[in-house]
Amino acid sequence: MDTYINGKLDNGVQLEKKEYIEYITHLLANNFDAIERIEITLDDMRLRYFEDLKGFDVLLEEIIVKVEKSYVRFYQNNTVEVWDDFMILIESVGALHEKYNSISAQVPKGRQVEWASVGNKFSNVNRVLMQMQEAVELKDEIKMADAIKWEFIPLVVDLRNIIIDILNEVQ
């Protein structure tokens, strides 16, 4: 069984393995007489992976909803709001990267191959971002709308389909 140790304090602060062991040791040493019973729960890494994939899927779904409206505004050249939309898009892509990196660091043994298919698809995100970057430099709304509608959205939809397949399998 794959196990990992980490924990959350009452105030929500997340601790890594070493910090958490030190914290527990300290807690036990100082409250030993008062402790009546100790329960230890081992988290299954697969379960954790499953939860992360679900989070990833929710994030992808949110991004699709956000950018669906934004390419319309770019095509319509709604100049007041349109470049604000780009900032929302960049934030979304940033969140996507963070989530992808966080999951990649903790993929359970035996699931690396399927995760590699996500990685392959994900590598295209940077290419699309470059395309968008060029549109930003030129302030070319049509190019930006094209990149969102015909590159970015299909990419996110594909990623989501892969994630849904994996989720079904893991479940």
């Binding site: 319309v72 050249n77 030129l138 049509i142 190019k143 709308a145 094209d146 015909w150």
Partner: protein, 611 residues
């Protein structure tokens, strides 16, 4: 270029064809056109060695659908004006969805239009008019003609990328379009409302007009190079009462009070050098009720089409200015010394009429007071006004301080009109002193106290400036015009009857299916109509009283020329002409007593001045 497009343009829009015939889009360095990913043609412009998209590189038709989705009230329109063609995808997508809409196309950039002609079929069946190029006068004429032709609202569809690539051309177009729409709307609304009153007032007022001075025909008033203050009835007038009193008491400028501002001035016992009025409606009597016999210490300068009821109410000295809507005075009156007759153009408000008057009188500086064209402290009118002003839909415009102020459509129309006249009188310096008013293009904003300190330092205004007692019209000319008019008055009903007889014949011949004869009757009708147009009584009185019907009548006749179905064509002619003739006959009867009164007055006037 596509051969069908070339044939279509050569046949119907040869001038537009000439603008693009030498343009070959493949030879233009800065434009690339190529297949989009879905196979349609697309294009990009090279800007700083980078490609800038002119249409989607993936699916231009899909892009067009998104652009067109913004217009959700298309069903309310019969006509559409496309500003910017691009490669024409959006025009094609639009007409696939709405195949019966009639379209006007304006493309300021000939290269862009050449690309359109190269890559897509033009809408042969739907096109009403096309203009290519950025010449401002051709553009303005195109907009005016378009609006005149359709006589109804038009949907403006703008290509977003065009607005971006040609930002300056777009803003110039939009400004011209808005201005023309506003003036056209004003023209039609005003014409419809006043078409009959203008003519009747001109006739009813003629006896007074002929016996009073034409202010624009006398150069002895000594206004040249002087300063005038135009007082309007905006709420800021209340702030300047003491300044105006000081200016008047010390003769530092000529004060012309326009319309309702007289109520505020008289309430504060300030008597201007002149009061101007021109409103053709009977409601104008309200303002005259403020002027009792005691307070008549100044002359009225009236527009010759002013409501005749009001003219009778004013007991003080009167001078007139002939307005562009008057058809009586310009016909009968000519200057005794052959001086050019000057007129004031009709405008949406008396202040704009007065601005024209002051510029024509030779004032070198015109100072505007109380000309807000906006809500100031939630008020629209100065304290003298006793009517009610309902709260209306407001919008925001630039104010005199460089910020923004709330106003409404009606005031914008008035301001546009005033700005047009200000632009025309380049030798005049315009100072707007209205605190909190809308910015008026062509004026400089300065507080009245400062203007008084810097400019109004010399006393020159003469309270009795108008006492010249010289009437300067040519009696012989009046007499000969009078004879001509009377002969045509006797003839007009005969000519109308001839037209009615032809209409009756068309009805019978069409019923019997004799379309060859019907065609002949159309020719006769045209001859008779031309004769009628030459009749002075008709073209001075009857036709102008029905100018809106007449414009519609001409449009209907034009449209009916293309009717292929002979029965329908004949029916249309009968209906169109029937309605117009009915209105004309009604008015002939209506104005006969007024005409006879003029006839008598002119006759008396001539004999009095001969002896």
């Amino acid at each position: 270029m596509r051969i069908e497009n070339i044939n279509f343009l050569k046949k119907q829009y040869i001038n537009e064809y000439k603008k693009i015939e030498k343009i070959n889009p493949s030879n233009i360095d800065d434009i690339d056109y190529f297949n989009a990913k879905n196979g349609e043609m697309t294009a990009s412009a090279n800007i700083n060695e980078k490609k800038f998209s002119l249409a989607s590189e993936y699916d231009p038709s899909f892009e067009s659908e998104i652009i067109l989705n913004q217009y959700d009230d298309v069903d309310d329109y019969e006509y559409v004006l496309f500003y910017g063609t691009g490669l024409g995808h959006h025009i094609n997508v639009f007409l696939k969805k709405y195949p019966d809409k009639k379209v006007f196309i304006y493309e300021p950039d000939p290269v862009m239009f050449a690309l359109y002609v190269e890559t897509h079929d033009l809408p042969f069946r739907n096109t009403v008019n096309i203009l290519v190029g950025s010449d401002p006068s051709a553009r303005n004429k195109f907009i005016s003609d378009t609006l005149k032709k359709i006589q109804q609202k038009i949907l403006l569809i703008e290509l977003p990328v065009h607005k971006k690539v040609h930002a300056k051309l777009y803003s110039e177009f939009r400004e011209a379009f808005n201005r023309i729409i506003v003036s056209k709307k004003v023209y039609t609304e005003v014409n419809y409302a006043y078409q009959k009153r203008w003519i009747l007032n001109g006739m009813e007022n003629f006896a007074t007009t002929v016996q009073t001075q034409n202010i624009l025909l006398n150069d002895k008033y000594n206004f040249k190079g002087k300063t005038a203050i135009l007082v309007a009835a905006g709420p800021s007038l209340d702030d300047e009462i003491e300044n105006l009193r000081y200016i008047k008491e010390n003769g530092l400028a000529y004060i012309f009070s326009a319309g309702w501002s007289i109520a505020t001035l008289l309430k504060n016992e300030i008597y201007p050098h002149a009061f101007t009025s021109y409103d053709p409606t009977p409601q104008n009597t309200k303002v005259f009720k403020f002027i009792d016999d005691e307070s008549v210490k100044f002359p009225l300068v009236y527009g010759s089409t002013i409501g005749h009821e009001t003219l009778e109410l004013f007991k003080g000295p009167k001078l007139h200015m002939i307005t562009s809507q008057d058809t009586t005075s310009p016909y009968y009156l000519k200057s005794k010394d052959k001086a050019k007759m000057e007129y004031v153009m009709d405008a949406p408000n008396i202040a704009t009429i007065t601005i024209q008057l002051l510029a024509k009188l030779g004032f070198k500086r015109i100072i505007l007071v109380g000309q807000n064209f906006a809500f100031t402290n939630d008020k629209l009118i100065s304290s003298g006004y006793e009517g009610t002003v309902a709260a209306r839909k407001s919008e925001t415009v630039k104010d005199v301080y460089g910020g923004y102020v709330k106003t409404e459509d009606k005031f914008n129309k008035m301001r546009f009109s005033m700005e047009t006249f200000i632009k025309k009188s380049k030798d005049v310096e315009y100072i707007n002193t209205t605190r909190g008013g809308a910015h008026i293009e062509g004026t400089v904003f300065k507080h009245l106290d400062e203007v008084m300190k810097d400019e109004l330092i010399e006393s020159f205004a003469n309270d009795k400036w108008y006492e010249l007692n010289s009437i300067n019209y040519d009696i012989d000319y009046m007499e000969s015009q009078f004879k001509k008019m009377h002969a045509d008055f006797e003839e007009v009903e005969v000519e109308l009857k001839k037209i009615k007889d032809i209409v009756k014949k068309i009805k019978t011949l069409a019923r019997d299916g004799n379309y060859k004869q019907v065609e002949k009757m159309y020719g006769k009708l045209s001859v008779l109509f031309n004769d009628l147009k030459k009749n002075v009584y008709y073209n001075r009185y009857i036709m102008p009283m029905n100018r809106v019907y007449y414009d519609l009548f001409l449009l209907d006749v034009e449209e009916n020329k293309n009717e292929k179905n002979q029965i329908k064509k004949a029916e249309n002619i009968i209906n169109i002409l029937g309605k117009f003739l009915f209105e004309c006959e009604k008015d002939i009867k209506k104005i006969q007593p007024t005409y006879k009164k003029i006839q008598e007055q002119v006759s008396n006037y001539i004999s009095r001045n001969r002896s």
